[in-house]
C-alpha cells in the first residue's frame, strides 16, 4: 500500500532535471491530417476531422506495408525527421486486430479474428502526443 518513496523519488529526480535547465517549452508539429498509402495508392486519409477510405483486413492475414504521410492545415507534408517524433499505430481490440511498425513511418495490420476494431494513427513527440487521429473503424473478415 505504501508507495510513497519510490514515486516521490522518481518525481523528485524529474524535477531536479527540469530545474537544472530542461524546460518543457518546445515546438510542436502542426499536424492536421494524414494519408496512408500502399505504393502510390491512398488507402485511408484524414483531412480536418473527416476520415476517408478504409482498411481491408482478413483474419490471419498481414496487410502489405503501408506508409503514413502527415500534413499541415494547408495540406503540405509535415517533415518528422527529428528522432523525437515517433509513429504510433494502435488497435482498440488486439483480439481482433494487431498492428506492427515496420519503419519510421510504415506499418502493417494483421487480422487475428473476425470482428471490429478501431485503429488510431498518432504522432508521439518525445513523451507526449502531438496528434491523435480520429478512430478508423476496421472490420476483419474471414480469409478467402
Amino acid at each position: 500500500m505504501f508507495r510513497l518513496p519510490a514515486k516521490l523519488i522518481s518525481t523528485f529526480a524529474v524535477a531536479v532535471v527540469l530545474i537544472a535547465g530542461c524546460s518543457s517549452d518546445h515546438d510542436h508539429a502542426d499536424i492536421a491530417g494524414f494519408t496512408v498509402m500502399v505504393g502510390n495508392e491512398t488507402v485511408v486519409s484524414q483531412s480536418g476531422t473527416t476520415i476517408t477510405g478504409q482498411f481491408n483486413v482478413q483474419s490471419g492475414v498481414t496487410t502489405p506495408e503501408m506508409t503514413v504521410n502527415f500534413t499541415d492545415p494547408d495540406g503540405h507534408t509535415v517533415s518528422l525527421d527529428d528522432p523525437d517524433y515517433r509513429l504510433e499505430v494502435a488497435s482498440s481490440n488486439t483480439d481482433v486486430l494487431t498492428t506492427n511498425l515496420t519503419g519510421d513511418m510504415t506499418f502493417t495490420l494483421q487480422g487475428v479474428s473476425t470482428g471490429s476494431a478501431n485503429v488510431n494513427i498518432n504522432v508521439l513527440h518525445g513523451s507526449h502526443y502531438d496528434f491523435e487521429s480520429r478512430p478508423i473503424s476496421v472490420s476483419v473478415v474471414a480469409a478467402q
Binding site: F2, V14, A15, S24, E132
Partner: protein
C-alpha cells in the same frame, strides 16, 4: 464611537467583563527595576469547576510572544515592554478569550483567566467577536479550528470545509478536490496558505490538486467582503486562508509541539503529521512534517480504481523575535502523487496519474515602529517553484508514460503591509503593496505558450464608525501584464502581450439593532483578470471532455456583489442568515464552438465572456437547549445563470444542509449529524441531473491531560448506512458514487 470589534465584544459577552472572566491586579515589583519592563503573570482556571486549565497558550497579540500555562494553570510572561496589549488565550476544548491589559514600567500585572468550555461555540458569535487572526484588524467571516477542525479534518482542504455554510467541493476523485463557495471556484475563490498564494496550477483544471494538506493546519479562515481585498482583487466569493504558521511569530517559553495520526477505513488511508516549536533567547524555531498515503477509495458500488494518494509535506522556519519586530525565514516542500479515475466520458480509459511538487522559500520582516500611527510594518517575500505532470496510460507499453500535460511554474511574490491606528475618522486600518512575477512553461500535449506574468497592486483597508454604524472599506488598484515568450498568430487569434489596469473596492456596514442582534451588508466591485488558459491556451482537456482554446482578446471579468446578513446571538442561541447577489458583466467560461479539433477528437470549447449572475442564501443556527446539549444546522442554496443566453450556469450545487446534535460532558463530546442535499436538475450545458441524498455520521471526541502532555481523540463514523449517493459537483459521478461507510480515527497529542 467604538469600532465594530469592541461593540460586538460587548454585545455578545464573549470577552465579557473582567470581573467575570479575567481579573487584573497590578503592583510594583523589584523584579524588573533595572530594565524598566514589566511582567504579566496569572492563572487559568475553568469557569465552571474552578480547576486549573493547563496547557493554555497565552499570547500577546501585538508582539507575538506566548507562554503556556503549567499543570497548576499558572503562566508568566516576563520582560514585557510598557504599553497596552491584547492577551489572547487558546486551549483545546475551551473558547478563545481576549483581554486588554496595560503594562507599566517595573510592575508585575496579574491577569487571571476563567475560561469557558466550548460546547457552545457559536459561529454566529464568532463572525463578529472572535474574529481576529493575530493581526487584530483583518476579520474573517468564518473560522474552522479546534474541535470542529479535528472532527472535519479530511483528505483535502475541500473535504475539510465541505460542511461549512455555502461550501461544496468539486471533485474528480478524492485527491483533486477543490472548495466551492457559493457556486464559485477556480480563480473565483482564492486559496491562500499563511496569507500567500499556493503557487500551483490548481485553478486551471479540475484534475489539478490544491497543494495544501490540512493535517498540520492550525486553523482555516474564510474572508469575504472588503477585507479580502488585502489579498486579491478577485474576491467576489471570498478568500480561504489556511494558517499553518510556517514562519514562527511567537517565542515559545519551552519546547513543545503536536503530533497527529489519522487513519480511515474507506481507503486504507493513513496520515501523520507533527510540528515542534522551540526557542533560544530571541530565536524561535518551528518544523513540521506531514505524510499521507491511501489506496483506492471504496464506494457502496465497488472500488474506484486509480484514486490512491501519496502526499508528503514538510517545512522548517526560523525567526528572530524581539519587542521591536521579527525577521523570519521558512522553507517547505509539498510532494504529491495521485490518480484520476478513468472510464467516464472524455477521460482516458485507464485514468491519469499526476505527480506534482512545490518548493517554497519565505521571508518575513516585521517592525513595530516608534510611531503613534503606524503600529506594524510587515514585508514578505516568497519564492515558489512548482512542477506538475500528468501521465496517460500507454496500452502498447502497458504503463503510464505519455505526458498529457506538464507545467513548470516559478513565482516570486513581494508584499508590504502597514497596520495603522487612529487617523482622522478612521479607527484603524491597513495599506500596502503587492507584486508578483510568475513564469509558466507548459508542456505535453498542449499548444499553450510559455508566459511571463507581472502583477502589481496597492491596497488600503480601513475601519471606522459613523454614529451607531461601523464600517470597513477597502480599495485596491491592480496592474497586470501578461507576456507570451513568443508572439504567434493562431487560428484563434494573435497571442501577444496583454496589459490590464483595474480598480476594485467595497464597503461593509454593520449596525446593532439590539443587544443581541446585528445586521450588516456590503457592496463590492471585484475584478478577475483572465488567466493564461483563458487567453492563450490550446490543448485537450480530458476532465472537461473538450479541446480548450483561449481568446487573446478577452477583457477582465468584472463582478458586482451585494450581501446582507442578520446575526442573533445570546448565551444559548446563535443564528446567522445571509442573502447575496453577484452580477458579472464579463463572466469568463468555455463555450462550445460546435467544431472539433483535428489534433484530437474532442469538441472545441473557446473561452468567452458573458453576463451572468449568482445569488442565494445561507443560514446557520445553533441552540444549546440543555446543559451540555447543542443542536445546530446549516443550509445553503445558490442559483446561477448565464443571463446572456438565459440558461443555468453549470456546476452549481443544489440545496444542501447539515443538522447535528452534540452532547458534551467534561472532556467528552459525542454527536451525530445528517448531511443532506436536494436533487439538482437545474443544469448547465452537458450536465447530468443528480439525485438528492441523506447521509448520517457520528463522532466521539475526548481530550485528556497527563503530565505535560495533552491527548485528543476524534473517532468519526461517516456514512453510517453505507448510502449510495452522488454529489453534483463530482466529475466522476457517472462511474462511481461517493465513498461508503468510513471509520476515521484521529489522535493528536500536544506536548
Amino acid at each position: 464611537m467604538a469600532s465594530l470589534y469592541a461593540i460586538t465584544l460587548f454585545l455578545f459577552g464573549l470577552v465579557g467583563t473582567p470581573e467575570v472572566q479575567a481579573t487584573i491586579i497590578g503592583y510594583s515589583d523589584g523584579e524588573n527595576q533595572q530594565t524598566n519592563r514589566g511582567v504579566i503573570r496569572g492563572k487559568v482556571t475553568d469557569r465552571d469547576s474552578g480547576e486549573p486549565v493547563s496547557y493554555t497558550s497565552i499570547v500577546i497579540v501585538e508582539t507575538n510572544r506566548a507562554a503556556t500555562a503549567h499543570d497548576n494553570g499558572e503562566y508568566i510572561l516576563p520582560n514585557v515592554a510598557p504599553g497596552v496589549y491584547t492577551l489572547r488565550t487558546h486551549r483545546v476544548g475551551y473558547e478563545s478569550f481576549s483581554q486588554s491589559v496595560t503594562v507599566t514600567p517595573n510592575d508585575t500585572i496579574t491577569v487571571n483567566f476563567r475560561v469557558r468550555s466550548s460546547i457552545f461555540r457559536s459561529r454566529a458569535i464568532q463572525v463578529t467577536a472572535d474574529r481576529d487572526n493575530g493581526e487584530n484588524i483583518i476579520r474573517a467571516e468564518h473560522r474552522v479550528d479546534g474541535r470542529e477542525l479535528r472532527q472535519q479534518l479530511g483528505r483535502t482542504l475541500a473535504e475539510t470545509l465541505q460542511n461549512e455554510p455555502g461550501m461544496a467541493q468539486s471533485t474528480m476523485g478524492p485527491a483533486p478536490a477543490r472548495p466551492v463557495l457559493r457556486g464559485l471556484s477556480g480563480d473565483r475563490l482564492v486559496l491562500l496558505e499563511d496569507g500567500r498564494t499556493t503557487g500551483d496550477v490548481s485553478t486551471s483544471a479540475p484534475d489539478h490538486a490544491v497543494t495544501i494538506d490540512p493535517i498540520n493546519s492550525q486553523y482555516i479562515e474564510i474572508l469575504r467582503g472588503p477585507s479580502a481585498l488585502i489579498y486579491t482583487s478577485n474576491a467576489v466569493a471570498g478568500v480561504v486562508n489556511v494558517v499553518r504558521g510556517q514562519i514562527p511569530t511567537e517565542l515559545p517559553e519551552h519546547f513543545h509541539g503536536t503530533a497527529s495520526v489519522q487513519g480511515e477505513s474507506v481507503n486504507q488511508g493513513l496520515s501523520a503529521g507533527g510540528a515542534v516549536y522551540s526557542s533560544r533567547e530571541n530565536l524561535a524555531f518551528k518544523a513540521d512534517l506531514g505524510l499521507r498515503t491511501s489506496a483506492d477509495i471504496t464506494t457502496p458500488e465497488g472500488t474506484l480504481d486509480n484514486t490512491s494518494i501519496q502526499n508528503f509535506h514538510g517545512g522548517v522556519g526560523l525567526s528572530r523575535i524581539d519587542d521591536r519586530g521579527l525577521l523570519g525565514f521558512s522553507a517547505n516542500a509539498y510532494l504529491s502523487s495521485y490518480g484520476i479515475p478513468g472510464n467516464f466520458i472524455g477521460s482516458h480509459p485507464e485514468g491519469v496519474n499526476i505527480n506534482l511538487q512545490r518548493y517554497q522559500f519565505d521571508t518575513r520582516y516585521e517592525r513595530y515602529p516608534d510611531s503613534d500611527w503606524i503600529k506594524r510594518a510587515q514585508y514578505n517575500y516568497t519564492f515558489s517553484f512548482y512542477f506538475h505532470e500528468e501521465l496517460e496510460y500507454s496500452p502498447q507499453r502497458e504503463r503510464f508514460d505519455i505526458v498529457g500535460y506538464q507545467s513548470n511554474l516559478i513565482t516570486n511574490t513581494v508584499t508590504g503591509r502597514y497596520y495603522h491606528g487612529r487617523a482622522g475618522f478612521v479607527d484603524q486600518g491597513i495599506f500596502g503593496f503587492y507584486g508578483q512575477h510568475s513564469y509558466n512553461s507548459p508542456g505535453g500535449f498542449t499548444f499553450t505558450p510559455s508566459t511571463n506574468d507581472l502583477a502589481l497592486a496597492t491596497f488600503a483597508y480601513q475601519d471606522f464608525g459613523i454614529g451607531d454604524w461601523a464600517f470597513q472599506t477597502g480599495l485596491r488598484f491592480d496592474f497586470y501584464a501578461l507576456f507570451p515568450v513568443e508572439e504567434t498568430d493562431t487560428a484563434f487569434g494573435l497571442r501577444t502581450n496583454r496589459t490590464f489596469f483595474n480598480v476594485s473596492g467595497g464597503t461593509k456596514a454593520s449596525y446593532s439593532l439590539t443587544r443581541n442582534l446585528v445586521t450588516s451588508f456590503y457592496l463590492m466591485r471585484t475584478v478577475r483578470i483572465p488567466v493564461v488558459e483563458e487567453l492563450f491556451s490550446e490543448g485537450p482537456h480530458l476532465p472537461a471532455y473538450s479541446y480548450e482554446v483561449g481568446d487573446p482578446t478577452l477583457n477582465a471579468e468584472i463582478g458586482h456583489g451585494a450581501e446582507w446578513t442578520l446575526r442573533y446571538a445570546s448565551e444559548s442561541i446563535g443564528i446567522q442568515n445571509s442573502w447575496y447577489f453577484y452580477s458579472f458583466s464579463n463572466y469568463l467560461y468555455p463555450r462550445n464552438t460546435g467544431e472539433e479539433s483535428v489534433r484530437r477528437p474532442l469538441p472545441i470549447y473557446q473561452y468567452t465572456g458573458a453576463s451572468a449572475r449568482i445569488y442565494g442564501t445561507e443560514i446557520l443556527a445553533e441552540w444549546q437547549f440543555l446543559d451540555g446539549f447543542m443542536l445546530n444546522g446549516t443550509a445553503s442554496y445558490v442559483l446561477g445563470d448565464l443571463t446572456t443566453d438565459n440558461e443555468p450556469l453549470p456546476f452549481i450545487p443544489p440545496l444542501t444542509g447539515k443538522i447535528d446534535l452534540q452532547y458534551a460532558y467534561r472532556v467528552y463530546t459525542i454527536g451525530t449529524s445528517m448531511r443532506l442535499a436536494s436533487k439538482q436538475d437545474r443544469l448547465g450545458e452537458f450536465e447530468e441531473p443528480t439525485d438528492g441524498y441523506q447521509v448520517y455520521d457520528a463522532f466521539v471526541q475526548a481530550h485528556f491531560t497527563h503530565g505535560s502532555h495533552m491527548h485528543t481523540f476524534s473517532l468519526t463514523l461517516e456514512n453510517i448506512t453505507n448510502e449510495t449517493y452522488r454529489m453534483h459537483l463530482s466529475r466522476v459521478k457517472s462511474i462511481m458514487p461517493e465513498p461508503g461507510r468510513n471509520v476515521k480515527l484521529l489522535y493528536r497529542m500536544y506536548f
